[in-house]
C-alpha cells in the first residue's frame, strides 16, 4: 500500500471512526440476520434462533473488537516495522548516520538559536498595552545634522492640545538624582516623566500605583516610583514602602509605588533612555512653559483605537505646520515632526544585523539539508542493488518508497531533536555573551513556535529530499543493477545530482565565508580606526554634587578643582580630570546650535555636540591639538567664555582659514537660542565619542569651569594597574565629602568595548556560521569525491595496470574536485555580488567586493576542498590492479 493510501486509511480509521463503526455494525448485522433467517426457515423460533447464532459466533462485540484490532494494529505494526527497519539500517551504516545526524543537528541548532533571538527581538510584542498603537514623535532636524531630535516642553503641550487622532502624549527624560537620608547616599538613574506616561504605555506598578495627574498638585513633596531593583536593594523589599518619605536631591519625596521586576522601557539607543532606570519622578510642574529651543523630551503618543498609522502621522505633521506658522521662533524652515511606530523604533539598531543573521542561518540550514540529501543519494546508490533485489523478489516499489520516506523522516526527527537540544544550550551560551545593546535579548527563550518552525522546516525539507533518491531507486535499470556487480550503470545519474547539490552548497558557503570575512574586517576596521582619543589605563566614575550643599558655580568649581588635585596626587595616578560625558555612555546627549555671524538665523543654524571638559581633560584622553591651546585653570567664571572646536566645525565654518581667535555663538545652558559668544582658543581632531564607526556631528568643547555640568564623569589616568586604584579613589572621595555618592566606577575601556560589542558579536556569529557552513561543504565534497572514487575503483585499477602513474590518477580525482570547487566559487561570488548592496549597510570602510576578503574566501574554499579530497586521492592511489582485475 502506498503512503498516500495508507495515510488515507489512517485518516479514515481515526477521523471517520464513527462511520466505520456503523459500517461494521451493518456488516455483522447482515451476517447475524442471514443466519437467523436460515434457522427460522428450518423451523426454529426467531428468538431462540438469534440466541443460537450469537452464541455460535461468540457475540458480536468480540468480533468487532478483532476487526478494529486488525485495522489499527496493522497501521501501528507497519509503521513500527518501518521505524525498526530504519533503525537497523542506521546501525549498519554508522558513518552515514553520524554524518547526517551531526549535519542536521548543527543546522537545526543554529536555526533554533537565532530564530529564538529574532523572535524575542523582532516579533514579540513590547510589554505594553496594545503596543502597536504607540508611536514615537521626534523633531526632524536632518538639515542641522540631527534627524531624530527630542522635543521641547511647549511642543509637547502643542501636540496634546492640537492633535485630534491621539488619546494623549507622554514624555520621558533620563537624568540622575541622589537618594539620601535613610542610608548611604546613592546616585540613581532616574526617568523624569509626565504624569500620564505610564498610563499611556499601559504599564502597571507591582506595588502601589504609577503616577496620576493629582501627583502634580501635591504641595511640599514630590512623588517617586521605584524600580524593583532599588526597592529590594535599598529597602529590603519592604511591602510597607508605599507612602514612605525618602529624600531625593535633598528634597522630600513620597514613594507612590514599585514597578514590577524585569520592567524595561526598551527605548531605541538614540533616545538616551537607558533600560535600567532605577526610579521615576515627575517633571516639575511648569516644564511645558520652558523655552521652545530647549529640547530634551522623548515623546510617546497613543493613537486612538480606530486611527490608522498614516492618519496619525498626518495629524502630527499638521500640528508641526500649525506651530511653525504660529511661532516666529521656527524661522523659515519650520518644525517637522517624525512619527515612528514604537515597535519599529525600539529595535532600530539591531534589525539589520538580525536580518543578516537570520538569512545566514537560513542558508546554513539549507546547506545542512542539501548535505543530508546528498548523503541519502549516495546511500541510495550504495543500496541500489539491495533495492533492485528486493523489487525482483516482489517488494512493491511503493513499499520501498515508503520505507525510504520513513527512514528519511526518522533521520530528520532524530537530527531535529538533537538540534533543538543543542540549540537550547547554544541560546544559553549566546545570552551569556550578549552585548548590553541587545538588552531585550534576555527575553529570548526557546519557545514552541520557534521549535515548531525549525522542526517543521527540517522535516519538510527531508521529505522533499527523500523524493529525489527514492524516485530513482528501483528504476527501469533494476535488472542491470542486479546484473552489474558494481551498480555501475545506476550510479551515473545519481552522481550528477550529487555533484549539483555539492556545487550548490559550495556556493552557499562561499557567500557565508565572504560575509564573515567582510564583517570581521569591518570589526577590525572599527577597532583599528582612530576614535580620536585613548581610553586605555583610565578609571572613570561619576559624582553628582547636591545643589543644596554646592549652590553656586564657584563652590562647584572649588570642589571639583580640589578633587582633581587629590586624585592626581594618588600614588600610581598620573592625571585626573572631569568630562561631562564618557564616550558612548547613556547620558543624554548635550548639544545645540552654533552661529559664527552675528544676526544669523538661529533656526537654521548647524547643530553641534557640546561637551564640558576640565583643564587637562583633553590631554588626559590624548586628544590631538591641531591649532591654538588647551584650556587652562585661568579660563574661569571671571574671564571671557572660551571654546575649543573640532576640525570638522572649523573647516565648515572658516574654510581655509585659521579658527583660533574667531568668535562663535553657542547655547551651553540650553535656552533654545545661541546667545553666548565665546572665543575659539583651540582646534582638535574630531573625537568619535558617540559612535565608534561614524563621525556624528560637529563638536564644541567648553571648559568645565565656565559651563558646569552636574553630575560629571571623573577620569583618573593610571599607569599599568588602573583597577587597583579604585579603593584609593573611594577613600579620597570619602575624605573630601563623606556624603557624596560615587557611582559607575569602571575602566573607560568598558564604555568603548560595549559600543563595539554589537558589531563584534555579529562578526563572531557570522564567523561561526561560516565555519559550520564550510565544514558542511567540505563534508559534501568529500562525500561526492569519495563516492566517485569507489565507483571508478576498477577503472583506476585498469589504468594503473596499463601503466598510469600516481600523478595521473591523483590528477583525475583532484580534477573532479577542482571542477566542483571552481563552479561553487563562481556561483557563490556571483550571488554575493548580487546581494552586496544589501550587506553594504553593515560594512564600515570597505566595499562588499573588498579584494582581501574575496581573496581570503577563495583561499579558504580551495584549502577546504583540497583537504576534503585528500582521503579519496589516497584511496584511488591504492587501487590494486591485481585485485581489481580478479574481480572483473
Amino acid at each position: 500500500m502506498g503512503l498516500i493510501a495508507r495515510a488515507a486509511s489512517v485518516w479514515r480509521t481515526i477521523a471517520r471512526g464513527r462511520r466505520l463503526a456503523a459500517d461494521l455494525d451493518a456488516e455483522l448485522g447482515a451476517w447475524v440476520d442471514e443466519h437467523v433467517e436460515r434457522r427460522v426457515r428450518r423451523g426454529e423460533a426467531p428468538e431462540a434462533a438469534r440466541r443460537a447464532v450469537l452464541a455460535e459466533m461468540g457475540g458480536v462485540e468480540p468480533v468487532k473488537e478483532q476487526v478494529r484490532d486488525v485495522r489499527m494494529g496493522r497501521l501501528l505494526d507497519e509503521t513500527l516495522r518501518d521505524v525498526a527497519h530504519a533503525w537497523r539500517g542506521f546501525r549498519r551504516t554508522p558513518a552515514f548516520t553520524l554524518a547526517a545526524l551531526a549535519t542536521l543537528a548543527l543546522g537545526v541548532a543554529a536555526v533554533t538559536t537565532i530564530f529564538s533571538v529574532a523572535h524575542a527581538l523582532l516579533l514579540q510584542p513590547l510589554p505594553f498595552r496594545d503596543p502597536d498603537r504607540l508611536v514615537f514623535v521626534w523633531a526632524d532636524q536632518t538639515a542641522e545634522g540631527y534627524p531624530r531630535a527630542p522635543l521641547s516642553g511647549p511642543e509637547l503641550r502643542d501636540l496634546d492640545e492640537r492633535s485630534t487622532r491621539f488619546e494623549g502624549f507622554g514624555a520621558i527624560w533620563a537624568t540622575t538624582a541622589a537618594l539620601t537620608g535613610d542610608d548611604l547616599p546613592e546616585q540613581l538613574r532616574i526617568g523624569l516623566v509626565t504624569s500620564d506616561f505610564f498610563s499611556l504605555l499601559g504599564a502597571e506598578a507591582a506595588l502601589g500605583r504609577t503616577f496620576t495627574i493629582d501627583d502634580e498638585s501635591v504641595e511640599g513633596a514630590t512623588s517617586i516610583l521605584l524600580s524593583d531593583a532599588v526597592w529590594r536593594r535599598r529597602y529590603g523589599g519592604d511591602a510597607g514602602i508605599v507612602g514612605r518619605r525618602v529624600d531625593v536631591n535633598g528634597r522630600p519625596a513620597i514613594v507612590v509605588g514599585v514597578m514590577p521586576a524585569g520592567f524595561r522601557l526598551m527605548m531605541p539607543p538614540d533616545s538616551a533612555v537607558p533600560d535600567d532606570l532605577e526610579a521615576f519622578q515627575l517633571f516639575n510642574r511648569r516644564f511645558t512653559e520652558g523655552p521652545r529651543g530647549q529640547r530634551y523630551l522623548r515623546v510617546i503618543g497613543r493613537m486612538r483605537a480606530e486611527v490608522g498609522d498614516l492618519d496619525a502621522i498626518a495629524d502630527v505633521a499638521r500640528v508641526g505646520r500649525e506651530i511653525s506658522a504660529a511661532h516666529a521662533f521656527y524661522g523659515a524652515s519650520g518644525r517637522q515632526f517624525e512619527t515612528v511606530p514604537l515597535h519599529v523604533d525600539a529595535m532600530n539598531d539591531v534589525r539589520r544585523p538580525l536580518q543578516v543573521l537570520s538569512a545566514g542561518v537560513g542558508l546554513l540550514l539549507l546547506i545542512a539539508c542539501i548535505n543530508v540529501g546528498s548523503l541519502l543519494v549516495a546511500r541510495a546508490a550504495a543500496r541500489a542493488r539491495e533495492a533492485a533485489l528486493r523489487t525482483a523478489l516482489g517488494a512493491g516499489r511503493a513499499r520501498l518508497f515508503r520505507q525510504h520516506l520513513v527512514e528519511t523522516l526518522v533521520l530528520g526527527a532524530m537530527g531535529g531533536a538533537l538540534g533543538v537540544g543543542l540549540g537550547y544550550w547554544g541560546l544559553r551560551l549566546l545570552l551569556r555573551f550578549t552585548p548590553e545593546a541587545l538588552g531585550r535579548l534576555h527575553l529570548a527563550t526557546m519557545n514552541l513556535p520557534v521549535v515548531a518552525v525549525s522542526l517543521g522546516t527540517v522535516l519538510s525539507w527531508m521529505a522533499v529530499l527523500a523524493l529525489a533518491p527514492a524516485s530513482q531507486a528501483p528504476s527501469a535499470s533494476m535488472l542491470e543493477a542486479v546484473l552489474d556487480d558494481r551498480g555501475h550503470t545506476a550510479g551515473r545519474g545519481r552522481g550528477r545530482l550529487r555533484r549539483a547539490l555539492t556545487v550548490a552548497q559550495l556556493a552557499l558557503s562561499v557567500v557565508l565565508v565572504l560575509m564573515a570575512l567582510l564583517l570581521t574586517r569591518t570589526v577590525q576596521r572599527v577597532q583599528q580606526s582612530d576614535p580620536g582619543f585613548e581610553a586605555g589605563g583610565v578609571v572613570s566614575f561619576r559624582v553628582a554634587l547636591p545643589g543644596t550643599r554646592y549652590p553656586t558655580q564657584e563652590a562647584f568649581n572649588a570642589f571639583s578643582r580640589r578633587m582633581q588635585e587629590s586624585l592626581a596626587a594618588l600614588p600610581g595616578a598620573t592625571a585626573a580630570a572631569s568630562w561631562s560625558h564618557a564616550p558612548y555612555d547613556h547620558v543624554p546627549n548635550w548639544g545645540g546650535p552654533y552661529i559664527a555671524v552675528e544676526g544669523a538665523d538661529a533656526s537654521t543654524a548647524p547643530q553641534a555636540d557640546y561637551r564640558a571638559v576640565s583643564p587637562g581633560g583633553m590631554e588626559l584622553l590624548q586628544v590631538r591639538l591641531l591649532e591654538g591651546r588647551w584650556f587652562s585653570e585661568t579660563d574661569d567664571l571671571s574671564t571671557a567664555p572660551v571654546v575649543i572646536v573640532d576640525q570638522r566645525l572649523a573647516q565648515r565654518t572658516w574654510p581655509g582659514a585659521s579658527a583660533v581667535g574667531r568668535r562663535l555663538a553657542v547655547d551651553p545652558f540650553v535656552t533654545g537660542t545661541p546667545a553666548t559668544w565665546a572665543t575659539v582658543v583651540g582646534v582638535v581632531t574630531h573625537v568619535r565619542h558617540r559612535s565608534p564607526s561614524d563621525e556624528v556631528r560637529d563638536q564644541v568643547y567648553f571648559t568645565a569651569r565656565q559651563a558646569t555640568r552636574n553630575p560629571s564623569v571623573y577620569l583618573v589616568k593610571a599607569g599599568a594597574d588602573a583597577a587597583g586604584l579604585v579603593p584609593a579613589i573611594r577613600d579620597t572621595l570619602r575624605t573630601l565629602d563623606p556624603a557624596l555618592p560615587i557611582y559607575d566606577v569602571q575602566p573607560l575601556t568598558a564604555y568603548v568595548d560595549r559600543a563595539r560589542a554589537l558589531r563584534s558579536f555579529t562578526a563572531v556569529l557570522a564567523a561561526l556560521f561560516a565555519a559550520a557552513a564550510l565544514l558542511l561543504a567540505a563534508v559534501g565534497i568529500h562525500g561526492v569525491v569519495a563516492y566517485a572514487v569507489t565507483e571508478r575503483q576498477r577503472e583506476f585499477g585498469v589504468r594503473r595496470a596499463l601503466g598510469a602513474g600516481s600523478r595521473e590518477l591523483a590528477g583525475l580525482v583532484v580534477g573532479e574536485c577542482a571542477v566542483m570547487t571552481a563552479a561553487g566559487l563562481t556561483l557563490g561570488l556571483l550571488g554575493a555580488a548580487a546581494g552586496g548592496s544589501w550587506l553594504q549597510t553593515q560594512l564600515v570602510g570597505i566595499v562588499p567586493w573588498d579584494p582581501p576578503s574575496v581573496a581570503g574566501t577563495v583561499v579558504v574554499l580551495v584549502v577546504a576542498a583540497l583537504l576534503a579530497c585528500a582521503a579519496p586521492v589516497r584511496r584511488a592511489l591504492r587501487a590494486d590492479p591485481a585485485v581489481v582485475l580478479r574481480q572483473a
Binding site: 500500500m1 455483522l28 448485522g29 447482515a30 451476517w31 443466519h35 461468540g58 468480540p62 468480533v63 485495522r71
Partner: protein
C-alpha cells in the same frame, strides 16, 4: 516461510480464490468456502471479518455497499493487486505442497 504465516495466510488465500469469479458478501464467502472444501473449513465470523478487513486495508479486495431488501450489504470484490497476490499465493502454495510432499515421501 514460517509455519504460522502460512496458516494465517491460508484463509486470505481462500477468500481471494472465492472472490476470483464474482464479488460476494461475507455470508456468501463463508458459504462458498464451506461448500467447495466440502465442509473441511468451517469459517467463523471471528476469523472471517478480521481477515476481510485486513485484505481490504492491504488493497487486495475492495468493499462496495448496496441496499438489498432495505438492508445495507457490503460486497467484496477482488482488485488487480488482489489478483496478483492470489497468483503469487497460489504459486507459493504449490511450492509448499511440493516441498512437503518431498519431505514426507522421502525415506
Amino acid at each position: 516461510m514460517a509455519r504460522l504465516d502460512l496458516m494465517k495466510g491460508t484463509l486470505a488465500l481462500l477468500i481471494l480464490r472465492t472472490l476470483e469469479l464474482e464479488p460476494r458478501h461475507g455470508v456468501a464467502i463463508a458459504d462458498r468456502i464451506q461448500q467447495t472444501t466440502r465442509g473441511t473449513f468451517h469459517v467463523r465470523p471471528g476469523s472471517l471479518f478480521p481477515a476481510l478487513h485486513r485484505l481490504e486495508q492491504e488493497g487486495a479486495i475492495a468493499g462496495d455497499w448496496s441496499i438489498v431488501d432495505g438492508r445495507r450489504i457490503k460486497t467484496y470484490r477482488l482488485t488487480s493487486a488482489g489478483r496478483r497476490q492470489l497468483a503469487a499465493g497460489a504459486r507459493d502454495w504449490a511450492r509448499v505442497v511440493e516441498a512437503m510432499r518431498l519431505v514426507l515421501e522421502t525415506e
